[in-house]
């Protein structure tokens, strides 16, 4: 049994089903109550679960994450919603120094089963402080897991896995996917897990491999579709799905078949997460690469407000196509 869900509905369904099943799961965050969250992800949940489990908070991101950590190590399974991923920087100390390290510092004698859900990405005209893709900041921190679903099916399965995970998981959603009609999917009604630590090949291909994250997976698929039609170039599109832990083997296997890898991400290219992917594949896949691993990513600037500039800042389908063609030479 499946139902057609948007990305947002899939995320909500995952939380609803886990909360019905496990009383230790609860949500805390700003305006998640009556308002249903800035993007409407928790709409209706206050009515079903009440304000003890749908905890509307003051504007105190560090305290929100701190409270999540403290409740997690004492037996709860909190889901903290940070309204925009730009604001996890406010809770960065609690995330990087506490949540990520507690288990290790305590010699394995504690666990921190919590999820920080937060929307990233631009394209909404919200400018520099509401549009960032900051996955590189958390993906570098040992002790954290970082998840970035690109479609409704993965969103539900990965969020269920994240909630079931006994480690802190940074779950980065994308604003342009939430209500995106173009990528509504048939999603199983029952609970299911999508494993954290496995890439997913979203499109098979033989000419070139493309590794992408989050919304860029959709754009890569669009570019792949066009190039297949227009030039019968067959791209293999790999959805990284979970930057940490990274499943590099799946990418290498693909490169062994195609000999080429293009990495696509929304974040500014310099120091971005795809640098890690490119570095690992360039090293481990050296003997199979017919061309250098290249990257199509965000420009090295904050996200500008003006649409003409914002469009330029974030990789579009055309830029990805160009990246593919350049790499194919």
């Amino acid at each position: 049994m499946t139902s057609k869900l948007t990305y947002l509905e899939a995320i909500r369904e995952a939380m609803q089903q886990k909360m019905r099943q496990d009383n230790n799961v609860y949500i805390l965050g700003e305006d998640i109550g009556e308002y249903g969250g800035a993007f409407g992800v928790t709409v209706g949940m206050l009515e079903e679960f009440g304000k003890e489990r749908i905890r509307n908070t003051p504007i105190s991101e560090a305290a929100i994450v701190g409270a999540a950590i403290g409740s997690a190590i004492t037996g709860m399974r909190p889901i903290a919603e940070i309204m925009f991923s730009d604001f996890i920087t406010i809770a960065m100390e609690q995330i990087a120094n506490q949540a990520a390290k507690i288990r290790y510092m305590f010699g394995g004698k504690a666990s921190v089963p919590m999820v920080v859900r937060t929307p990233g990405g631009g394209g909404t005209g919200a400018a520099a402080q509401h549009s960032q893709s900051l996955e590189a900041l958390t993906a570098h921190i040992p002790g954290l897991k970082v998840v970035m679903p690109s479609c409704p099916y993965d969103a539900k399965g990965l969020l269920i896995s994240a909630i079931n995970d006994n480690n802190p998981v940074i779950f980065i959603e994308h604003k342009l996917l939430y209500k995106n009609k173009k990528c509504i999917q048939d999603v199983p009604k029952e609970m299911y897990e999508v494993p954290i630590g496995k890439c997913d090949i979203k499109r098979k291909g033989t000419d070139i491999s493309i590794a992408a994250t989050s919304f860029m997976v959709q754009r890569a698929l669009e570019a792949a579709g066009k190039l297949s039609k227009e030039r019968s170039i067959e791209c293999e599109v790999i959805d990284i799905r979970t930057p940490r832990p990274l499943d590099v083997d799946t990418i290498i296997d693909s490169v062994k078949r195609t000999g080429r890898l293009l990495c696509v991400e929304e974040a500014p290219i310099f120091g971005g997460f795809m640098g890690e992917v490119a570095a690992e594949v360039s090293e481990k896949g050296f003997d199979w690469l017919d061309a250098p691993v290249t990257r199509v990513a965000g420009r090295n600037c904050p996200i500008p407000y003006s649409l003409v500039l914002e469009k330029e800042a974030i990789p579009g389908v055309e830029r990805i196509e160009r990246g593919i063609l350049d790499l194919l030479g």
Binding site: D31, E34, Y35, T124, A126, A128, Q129, N300, Y305, S306
Partner: protein
């Protein structure tokens, strides 16, 4: 206002505050009304453009809170500093911003204050002392504190008004900044615009205290709560404490009680409040309130009021024209201005 406007002094929470408004020239009093109109009309115009998708992204409209921005901006000197918020158009206009340049920024045009790079949440005019709107709630409280530190170290006789909302008063940086300003007795007024909601969150869900200004006692500073819809009260109180700041008496926490008439932002359907509540607050319209004061004082006539309304409307129209005709930035410019 608690007492009769003719009084030389007003007593607010034990502070004896000179009624400086009385001493103002007629023109100044009228100018302040005009500025309130500018905010009201600018915001209404912006809202139309947002609804029609001509302005993209979102704007946080200041309608209903005009008395706080204008009273505060006129209570300090032209060369003093302000820091603003995501709901910043009012502060910006108060500090003397050019409507054309503002509107052009909302349109994302190169002629805007930020060359189209900032938009509504980042309009700034550092040269005129406006250190900028801020998309991060509470994000400018530390910056205001630092600007006040400059004033102190350069002994330039300037001070800072830091605007922020009730919601921002729970950010960690509010705490660290007010404490730092107190310990260093910096010349800054922390002006908390308590408009009764942080987005959808009512005060009682965010605070367990009656008055946000009670937090003054956590830092050993002065503070009080005022009627943010009464321009005269805001003006008198801000100018009173601005001068105290200047002579080194340290920071102040002023809570200005007001109300946001519009939704929090574009997407807000306002499930969290009743139409009745909104109606009640609209009866306390800061512009009406101020107009009546001016009428009483014989400073304003119905005719003059109509004129002002017309003047403002036409300057908004000009601004819109300017914005429409202006060029978009060139994509080539995207990486300019990242570094100096």
């Amino acid at each position: 206002m608690r007492e009769n406007l003719k009084e030389k002094y007003m007593n607010i929470e034990g502070y004896k505050i000179k009624n400086r408004f009385e001493g103002l020239k007629k023109d100044k009093k009228i100018e302040m009304l005009k500025k309130m109109y500018e905010i009201r009309h600018f915001e209404n115009q912006a809202e139309q453009f947002i609804i029609r998708g001509i302005i993209h992204g979102t704007c946080h409209l200041y309608i209903g809170e005009e008395a706080t921005a204008i009273g505060a901006a006129y209570g300090i000197n032209k060369d003093d500093y302000i820091t603003s918020t995501h709901r910043g158009h009012g502060h910006c206009i108060g500090k003397g911003a050019d409507l054309k340049t503002m509107m052009a920024e909302l349109f994302g045009k190169r002629t805007g204050y930020c060359k189209g790079k900032g938009g509504s949440m980042h309009i700034a005019d550092v040269s005129s002392g406006n250190l900028g709107a801020n998309g991060v709630v509470g994000g400018s409280i530390g910056i205001a504190t630092g600007a006040a530190l400059t004033c102190r170290m350069k002994k330039n006789g300037k001070m800072v008004v830091c605007f922020f909302g009730d919601g921002a008063a729970n950010r960690g940086i509010f705490h660290g900044s007010l404490n730092l300003a107190s310990v260093w007795s910096l010349p800054v007024i922390y002006l908390c615009e308590n408009n009764t909601y942080g987005m959808s969150t009512p005060l009682k869900q965010a605070f367990n205290i009656k008055k946000i200004s009670d937090r003054k006692s956590a830092y050993g500073i002065d503070g009080l709560t005022i009627d943010g819809n009464n321009l005269v009260e805001v003006f008198n109180v801000v100018s009173h404490f601005a001068d105290r700041c200047r002579i080194g008496e340290g920071p102040v926490l002023i809570e200005s009680l007001t109300y946001r008439w519009k939704g929090h932002s574009k997407s807000d359907v306002q499930v969290y409040r009743t139409k009745e509540e909104v109606r009640k607050w609209k009866e306390k319209d800061p512009i009406k309130k101020y107009k009546n004061i001016l009428f009483e004082q014989g400073v304003l006539t119905e005719e003059r009021d109509k004129e002002i309304g017309k003047e403002v409307k036409s300057s908004i129209e000009e601004a819109v024209e300017f914005a429409k005709e202006s060029q978009f930035p060139d994509p080539e410019e995207i990486e300019d201005d990242v570094y100096s």
